[in-house]
């Protein structure tokens, strides 16, 4: 077993080819089971690229991160508590608008994101063209067009991952502009969030979730032992998860 240095989370709407990409990247080096205490399938695997070992976790497919279901809670908690080094959001090129909703939500939680636009071949057939460079500029994170099924774009994706972990990329994620009313409430709530929840979590996002009345987030935060040092390895629970 490889001692993985970096953790990658795979996210995306259902039916975007997320698992296809997962299989292409990991081959047979996968473990599957359940998330502790949940009836949600957990799959993770490993791969090595340019001498660096990666652990990759295939999160359940979700449309949002609003903790509507066990799937969404698992995905949210992983981003929040396990803090993967890179999150790859797989989107369906033929339904980009709907898929971007999730991307925008992920960008509120972390800036270490690569957007993988999958099914690009199908989109071409339907006459849909996506200006990925422009999209990357707008989103403020790398965007990679690909077709996981035909193994197209995999190499570019891996190069982007490599550039990320070598600190060659400087993401400046887009912030969704909310209504004046919401923005004011966020501004008022932020100091209290920072005071109580601490700096370890994306404060703006936490504030937004609290305004939305997301009690499941609070109880998740409450169960989490307070982080003592910022240097703590973000993938510390790696072993325990695997052994499940």
């Amino acid at each position: 077993m490889i001692n993985a240095t970096y953790t990658i989370a795979l996210m995306g709407n259902p039916n975007t080819g997320k698992s296809t990409l997962f299989n292409v990247l990991t081959g047979l080096r996968q473990h599957t089971g359940n998330w502790p205490g949940k009836t949600v399938t957990h799959a993770e695997g490993e791969f090595v690229y340019r001498g660096i070992a990666y652990r990759i976790v295939d999160l359940p497919g979700t449309y949002s991160l609003y903790s509507n279901s066990a799937d969404e809670e698992v995905a949210r908690d992983f981003l929040l508590f396990e803090r993967p080094n890179i999150t790859i959001v797989v989107v369906d090129a033929t339904a980009l608008e709907r898929n971007l909703n999730l991307v925008l939500q992920v960008l509120e939680m972390t800036d270490r994101v690569i957007v993988a636009i999958n099914l690009i071949d199908e989109a071409k057939k339907k006459g849909i063209r996506i200006n990925t460079k422009k999209l990357a500029t707008k989103l403020g994170v790398p965007v990679v067009p690909m077709s996981a099924r035909n193994k197209e774009g995999i190499d570019e994706l891996l190069k982007t991952v490599d550039a990320f972990v070598h600190g060659q990329l400087h993401p400046t994620p887009i912030a969704v502009p909310y209504s004046v009313e919401i923005e004011q409430s966020i501004a008022k709530l932020l100091p209290l969030v920072k005071e109580i929840v601490g700096d370890d979590y994306p404060a703006r996002w936490v504030a937004l979730r609290l305004l939305d009345g997301d009690t499941s987030l609070l109880s998740a935060l409450n169960q989490q032992p307070p982080r003592l040092t910022k240097e703590e390895a973000p993938y510390a629970c790696c072993g325990s998860v695997k052994s499940v």
Partner: protein, 464 residues
């Protein structure tokens, strides 16, 4: 102690957040995200002009709009029912003629072989006449309604219906997906109860299960359509008659949906308290269905299935009711004794003993309520030859029916307890005797209350 402190702090944080949050926070958040996604796509995505998705999007802009969504939905339903009723009238007449013509020869045959009177009564007046009535009354509306409905379904219109209704269900404290399971209920409540598995939250799922039988299923459409066309539009002629009939059935469906929403709302405020969860509903692209195939499938699968169920149950029921109707108990028959026993209660809710008996005997399947009722009436002496639908109305009139009786039977049919199959499924899905009982008792109570009120109100207002 440390943990307790954290808990308190978190509670304070949540309180603070809730005092700051606008009432429609979720709507505002989702709107902002959707608008940002849309703006990003406008700048980075170009569609080929002839893309099929565009076409879907344009239609959806109209049929799921706040302004037109409901109008179009009602218009569609009315149009489907209008076609059904207009076509069924013609077909039913011809079928009734055909069966009446065949019966003459059957009678001649029985006379020619000098069959005993009881055998003639049992086979021709009981079995044949009962079955013939059921077929000529139920087959035509089903043969038109189901294929047309299936075409609409296969075009992809039903998810749009769910999309439109989603708002209402959320307001009622229920899950938006309940709109989908309700739409399934228009086909079959038993299947719809199983389909509530798509709702994850047990609270919202129970709501969907308990209220599912308030929309008419395959077994009840023919009853609604027939009674409406016989009694509700009596004062009108020609296409006005059809239009009014269709309008009454649409009103029935609307009323069923209103009851669904009201019951959901009341339950979500009382026994099943909670906040509705959100979900994403994918609207599939519109597809032109294979028309011939859809029509044939619908006819074979649904029409034939419902008719077969009605006839296989109705035929023996015809024999049994004929026998019961001719077995003397004192100076009356077993059948009229039972109906007579039910009569006082039935009258207070604007029905009569035979109707209530039909509903009770119809517990296994709603399809047989109308057949059992006809058999009951026919065996009670008012023997009517099948020659036209008018004679069907005469059967009802001979038993003291008014438009109010018809209306109350339609209401009772719409609101009463789910059929046996559905109840079994509810038990299997909830694994709870309590909820199964509620699923039986709640609609029954509502049906009795509504018909009682209607009957009282109509009499009080002097309408009957």
């Amino acid at each position: 102690m440390h943990v307790a402190d954290r808990s308190n702090l978190f509670d304070r944080l949540m309180e603070e957040a809730q005092s700051l949050a606008p009432a429609d926070t979720r709507e505002q958040i989702v709107t902002a995200i959707f608008q940002t996604s849309a703006a990003l796509c406008r700048e980075t995505v170009t569609n080929a002009p002839k893309a099929a998705k565009d076409h879907t999007l344009q239609i959806d802009r109209i049929v799921t709009s706040r302004r037109w969504g409901f109008v179009i939905m009602l218009a569609m339903l009315a149009a489907v029912l209008y076609m059904t009723i207009a076509g069924a009238n013609v077909l039913s007449e011809s079928l009734a003629h055909l069966f009446g013509w065949v019966e003459q020869y059957l009678t001649l045959l029985f006379q020619a072989v000098h069959a005993p009177h009881w055998l003639y009564g049992l086979l021709v007046l009981g079995l044949y006449r009962g079955t013939a009535w059921v077929v000529s009354v139920m087959l035509p509306p089903m043969a038109i309604f189901f294929p047309v409905f299936a075409l609409l379904e296969n075009y992809g219109y039903l998810p749009r219906v769910a999309f439109n209704l989603d708002r209402l269900f959320k307001k009622a404290g229920a899950h938006g997906k309940q709109a989908l399971t309700m739409a399934m209920g228009f086909g079959c409540n038993a299947a719809a109860v199983i389909s509530t598995r798509i709702i994850e939250s047990p609270r919202e799922r129970t709501l969907a299960i308990l209220t599912n039988s308030f929309v008419p299923c395959n077994g009840r459409w023919p009853t609604l359509i027939l009674l409406s066309s016989l009694f509700m539009a009596a004062g009108y002629t020609g296409s006005w008659n059809t239009l009014v009939t269709a309008a009454v059935v649409v009103a029935m469906v609307l009323f069923g949906i209103i009851v669904t929403l009201t019951v959901s709302w009341v339950l979500s405020k009382t026994a099943l308290r909670g906040i509705p969860t959100h979900y994403t509903l994918e609207l599939p692209p519109y597809r032109r269905p294979k028309i011939a195939e859809t029509v044939i499938r619908a006819t074979l699968d649904k029409t034939w299935y419902v008719l077969k169920r009605a006839v296989t149950v109705a035929a023996p029921a015809g024999v049994i009711t004929w026998v019961l109707g001719n077995v003397p108990i004192g100076d009356t028959t077993a059948l009229s004794a039972f109906a007579g026993w039910l009569d006082p209660f039935a009258k207070t809710i604007g029905l009569d003993g035979y109707i209530l008996m039909a509903f009770l005997l119809g517990l296994p399947a709603n399809e047989i309520v109308l057949p059992v009722l006809l058999m009951g009436y026919l065996s009670a002496g008012a023997l009517t030859e099948i020659d036209s639908l008018h004679s069907l109305k005469h059967i009802f009139l001979a038993h003291g029916w008014t438009w109010l009786t018809a209306l109350n039977m339609m209401l009772f049919s719409l609101l009463h307890y789910p059929c046996g199959t559905t109840l079994v499924n509810i038990y299997k899905e909830t694994k709870s005797t309590k909820w199964t009982f509620v699923a039986f008792a709640l609609p029954t109570a509502i049906a009795v209350a509504v018909t009682f009120t209607t009957a009282r109100l109509a009499r009080w207002l002097g309408l009957v």
